[in-house]
Assembly symmetry: C2
Homo-oligomer: 111 residues x 2
């Protein structure tokens, strides 16, 4: 048994970041990813974050924001921008960012 995750509210902003990792620098990468998740959680309008990465190096992180202003402020946060630059220099082969406005959501958990 588990409790269902909270559905993401309508009109929230989802920022979908999908990326292929390069090999190497794993410790610094993990530390930076952890730091960014913790920093994001302190930002205005933060609703949540979820992340999965497979053994093939492909990963998806989705962050959820109350509105587009909050998503843009996080994009423009100086520490986040600096880490992105490091990601391009060191950690990723390619990535894609998709910003979308939530129209509906639901969740389920085993009884």
């Amino acid at each position: 048994m588990s409790s269902a995750p909270a559905p993401v509210p309508t009109d929230a902003i989802a920022v979908i970041f999908s990326a292929r990792r390069r090999d190497g620098d794993a410790w610094n990468y993990a530390a930076a990813a952890d730091e960014m998740e913790q920093l994001a959680a302190t930002q205005p309008g933060y609703l949540g974050i979820e992340s999965a990465r497979g053994s093939d190096g492909f990963g998806i992180t989705v962050s959820y924001w109350a509105d587009d202003e909050a998503a843009l402020a996080w994009r423009d946060h100086p520490l986040h921008a600096a880490i992105r630059q490091r990601g391009r220099a060191m950690w990723y082969d390619d990535y894609r960012v998709t910003v979308a406005r939530v129209t509906r959501g639901y969740s389920w958990a085993r009884e």
Copy 2:
């Protein structure tokens, strides 16, 4: 060097499925996931799918659709509905579905 993934077009629909897997039945699960990815790719309005699952069992799959009609038709596809039922019976502890309309997107690849 790699080529950048195509940015997801504005007004496309992103369906974000995040789920915690239970242990067991791995072969059947993998076969069904593969079958669903292949079936989705034959549906009208299909734009693409991406998926990542970590060793902790938490995974995120995002499918992209030309419009909401296409996303709803995929939700209601009989084989997809049957597999979802099996997922609730066998494969997941909990999951969340978030449907969102794309407002902007971009991508990057190492030169």
